[in-house]
């Protein structure tokens, strides 16, 4: 029944070079745009609740601890779902996987808007988290199969800005609708958008190049590195690949641990930022939220700079750029902490710089995970580090709230500064990883 979900077997190769070029050019652009739209809309159905929440609080449907619980449940389910759907998506057709996932989240959002009990909310939100996990692995599969190693930094970072666009648009849409028509419509409208976009994805998205009779992207672009990755351990079964290249790969674990810490910072700023602004700096909720959206704007630019810069300046090695940005996170957190001017612009500028620096590693680590694993396990590898990322996100929920209860905002900043610093340290073995290869001629000569 689900056979259409499975990735199609490779089709016979098209011989005509002009036709290959034409379809590659066409689909590379269109797939990126479609993925971009799809992932941004995934954000609509993911964050809709965050911005409908104040209205629900005002209606007395929920209280703060219920919301904290919903968030934690969401993050944990989302992380797990990312990993497992990552494993499945390596063998699935991204076209239907992503499209159906998005439609499912849309349906759940609509149902959420129609229900009224806490238990139903929790169940629906967990289900939503599960289907949210269907968004990123197909994207990473497409990004690793349609774009080759030496140019991927740019394409991936361009796609990555969908996070920020979705994250910046959703507060505007949901807040406006909720203000006019109540929170139920604030959930239902993103749901409808998601279903429509899901249908669009099923129509416009495509499977990997080989399923369309095209040569692989490495062969098409004559990218030696890409071909090397393609031919590495070509004969292994999916289970062996998963064990060797994802679960048994120390570098993936390293990236995962680093990702935990980056997500502690990202989620802490995203989720607690408006509380900090309102409680500590005395802004109203509206301007606090708009200052937080500067975080996304910064992230938009940061991801582009980091991705493109790592391609251009460091030959596609993600380590050095990652390190620069990790040091930047440390400085940026310090600047928000110590900023003595409480004006809106200054605070927003701090959020901008944090966003700028956080979204570098946020993207580079996911990309590095896909690149350091087998060609056929890109989805599983990114899903695996994603699982850890959302453990970090869950950590910055309830545990961070406890820290703030005891040590107040200073404790909050100490925790996220330490997280940023340690994440930079965890990247060091990654920088060292390449050293033996560059020094090997001398190393062999030495007695």
């Amino acid at each position: 029944m689900l056979s259409f979900m499975r990735s199609a077997p490779p089709q016979p190769l098209i011989r005509d070079q002009a036709e290959i070029d034409a379809s590659y050019r066409h689909w590379r652009l269109h797939i990126l745009l479609t993925m971009y739209l799809g992932y941004a809309v995934f954000y609509f159905t993911r964050k809709s609740f965050n911005f409908a929440m104040p209205d629900m609080l005002a209606d007395g449907m929920l209280d703060k601890s219920d919301i904290g619980m919903l968030w934690t449940l969401f993050y944990i389910t989302y992380g797990c779902s990312k990993f497992f759907s990552g494993i499945i998506s390596d063998r699935a057709n991204p076209r239907y996987f992503m499209g159906l996932g998005l439609m499912a989240t849309g349906v759940i959002n609509i149902l959420f808007g129609l229900s009224s009990s806490l238990w139903l909310f929790a169940a629906l939100w967990v289900a939503n988290a599960f289907f949210q996990g269907w968004g990123w692995p197909p994207c990473s599969k497409l990004l690793t199969s349609w774009y080759s190693r030496t140019e991927r930094g740019f394409w991936w970072s361009a796609w990555n800005t969908a996070h920020n666009v979705g994250g910046a648009l959703i507060p505007l849409i949901v807040s406006t609708i909720a203000l006019q028509h109540g929170w139920r419509y604030g959930m239902i409208v993103p749901g409808i958008i998601a279903i429509l976009t899901g249908l669009f994805l099923c129509w416009r998205l495509r499977d990997t190049p080989s399923a369309m009779g095209l040569p692989t992207v490495g062969e098409w672009r004559q990218d030696a590195l890409e071909i090397a990755q393609q031919t590495q351990d070509a004969g292994l079964s999916p289970r062996q690949i998963l064990r060797k290249y994802v679960l048994g790969n120390p570098y993936i674990w390293l990236l995962a641990c680093c990702y935990v810490l980056v997500y502690v910072v990202r989620t802490a700023i995203n989720d607690w930022g408006n509380l900090y602004m309102t409680e500590q700096r005395g802004f109203n909720l509206m301007s606090a939220n708009s200052a937080i959206s500067m975080f996304e704007v910064g992230g938009f630019i940061g991801a582009l700079v980091a991705g493109w810069g790592s391609d251009k300046l460091f030959n596609g090695n993600r380590g050095p750029m990652n390190l620069i940005f990790a040091v930047g996170i440390l400085l940026a957190v310090g600047s928000l902490w110590l900023m003595p001017f409480f004006s809106y612009v200054m605070q927003a500028a701090c959020f901008f710089t944090i966003g700028f620096f956080v979204f570098g590693p946020q993207m580079l680590i996911g990309m590095a995970a896909a690149e350091c694993s087998h060609k056929n396990s890109a989805g599983a590898a990114t899903g695996f580090v994603g699982l850890f990322a959302y453990m970090g996100a869950a950590l910055s929920g309830y545990p961070l709230a406890k820290v703030m209860e005891i040590w107040h905002w200073n404790g909050f900043f100490v925790v996220i500064s330490v997280a940023a610093g340690v994440s930079a340290l965890l990247l060091l073995p990654f920088l060292k990883a390449q050293a033996p290869r560059t020094q090997s001629p001398e190393a062999e000569l030495a007695p």
Binding site: R149, L225, Y245, Y251, S343, C350, K432, Q434, P436
Partner: protein
């Protein structure tokens, strides 16, 4: 051309974004230390600009400077920096020392550190001179710029050096076969030192306030000793963080700034000094290794020449003498009645036999012939037989565990000579009843032990005068050592480095 321009624009845009974000963060942190927004601009942002301009290619100076002007202008709008044109003028003025610094032909890392120090000092002086001329507090400006400059330029140099020295290659799935290089030991050391200095800054009671500043020098010295200038600068950076974390909450910004300045200066100077020593040391080590290699080579060459001469002598002269003796016999037989001829031919025969013996003796001195025909172990056994030790009532034991394949020719000859000389001494002087020879490989060395239970060395004869002088020199030239002790009997120990040198060509 177009693509190069596009790439230049893209790189400058990316660099400007990172620079601007970093500048803003540092400005915000400096605000906490410097008090007013304009002074904050003189602290860390000044250093960041200086550090980046010092390292980056000149083509990227304009975008960075433009970026800074825009930031200053914007901050002036937002929080009011009335003196921002002064900073602007200062940043243009400091381009002068920067340009001069870039022209220096610097070959060594320590010189680079000193150039850095000089550049920062001149730039800070220029900037604070402007400040002074504008009727502001020039001394405070000097303190701020020096502190910020030294702290940030050295950090920039450290990071830049790290990022640009390596040729970055993309990482791929092949990584999975490469074990993670944790460098746990290094990491633990860094963290330990950092925690220690943090604890010293935060944890010491106020009564020990005079003591705390000295503690800052300890990690710098430790790291500089271990890792050279990079270590010194890294320790300085860790100190800076520890200092700021420890004292930022107190109300003594001047005190804090001065300590930051002092410890940055310590780090930089100590780093430069130790780096110089390290470089000299390395050069010396290299030279010594080179020298030893040369002497070894010399010895090898000598040995090969000896070998060749010996072979020539043996083959040519041996045959010639045989021929002369045959000819003498023929002459005698041709004229059997002539007594003169008979006498002469007998004389010729005796003389040529004498030459033959002399040549044989010479050959033995030139090169032990045994080594050409048999293994070293067999040669030593032959030596024992030749000296007739058993007949003299000396019990011999030979434990030989060295294969000839691992030895160079010079090593074989030297070991043989040691045995020869040692056994000769035993026979002549020791009055011993047993001799043991042991030869084996031990890790990186070849060991030869020669022991007897005799009366030891005669009092009045130093080891040097004991026929071993030449051999000791040979052993040392091969990078080994020779020890002689005579506590119970005589023990002669020879150690040679365990590696086979390339045979000299030709």
């Amino acid at each position: 051309m177009i693509s190069r321009l596009a790439s230049y624009v893209a790189i400058s845009l990316a660099a400007s974004f990172i620079f601007a974000a970093g500048w803003f963060c540092l400005w915000s942190i400096s605000l906490h230390l410097a008090g007013s927004p304009i002074r904050a601009g003189l602290l860390f942002p000044f250093g960041l600009r200086l550090g980046l301009l010092l390292q980056s290619p000149i083509a990227y100076w304009p975008p960075l400077l433009l970026c800074e002007s825009l930031l200053l202008y914007w901050l002036n709008q937002e929080v009011g920096l009335p003196l921002w044109p002064l900073i602007q003028a200062g940043s243009l003025l400091t381009l002068l020392p920067l340009l001069i610094a870039r022209r220096q032909q610097v070959r060594n890392d320590w010189q680079q550190l000193l150039v850095l120090l000089a550049t920062v000092t001149v730039a800070a002086l220029l900037q604070s001179l402007l400040w002074h001329l504008a009727g502001e507090d020039g001394l405070t400006a000097l303190l701020l710029t020096l502190t910020g400059g030294l702290t940030l330029t050295s950090t920039c140099m450290l990071i830049w050096h790290y990022l640009t020295r390596a040729t970055w290659v993309p990482l791929g799935p092949a990584l999975v076969d490469q074990p993670v290089d944790w460098r746990f030991r290094h990491l633990v050391w860094y963290l330990l030192l950092f925690v220690l200095s943090l604890w010293l800054q935060l944890g010491l009671p106020d009564s020990l306030v005079r003591f705390t500043p000295f503690c800052l020098a300890i990690p710098i010295m430790a790291m500089a000793w271990r890792y050279g200038w990079q270590g010194a600068l890294l320790a300085t950076l860790m100190n800076t963080v520890a200092l700021m974390a420890g004292q930022a909450w107190h109300e003594h910004p001047l005190d804090l700034l001065l300590s930051l300045l002092a410890q940055s200066l310590t780090g930089l100077l100590l780093g430069a000094g130790i780096q110089r020593q390290r470089e000299l040391n390395q050069a010396l080590t290299r030279q010594l290794a080179h020298n030893r290699q040369l002497t070894e080579r010399l010895l090898e060459t000598e040995e090969s020449i000896r070998k060749e001469v010996a072979r020539e002598l043996h083959d040519d002269i041996g045959q010639t003498i045989t021929a002369i003796r045959t000819q003498a016999g023929i002459v005698w037989r041709l004229a059997p009645d002539n007594a003169g001829v008979g006498q002469s031919s007998a004389l010729i025969e005796t003389l040529s036999l004498g030459i033959y013996d002399a040549v044989r003796g010479l050959l033995g001195r030139l090169r032990p012939r045994q080594l050409d025909d048999m293994s070293l172990e067999q040669a030593v056994r032959g030596l024992l037989r030749e000296l007739e030790l058993e007949r003299r009532g000396i019990v011999t034991r030979l434990e030989w565990q060295l294969a000839d394949e691992g030895l160079s020719d010079a090593q074989r000859v030297t070991l043989f000579r040691v045995c020869q000389e040692g056994l000769n001494n035993v026979v002549k002087h020791a009055n011993a009843s047993s001799v043991t020879i042991r030869a084996h490989r031990q890790a990186e060395r070849l060991l030869l032990l020669l022991e007897d239970d005799g009366c030891g060395l005669p009092e009045h004869r130093t080891p040097q005068g004991y026929g071993l002088l030449g051999i000791r020199e040979r052993v040392q030239a091969l990078g080994g050592s020779l020890q002689l002790s005579c506590i119970h009997g005589t023990q002669l120990t020879v150690a040679l480095p365990n590696r086979k040198r390339e045979e000299p060509h030709g």
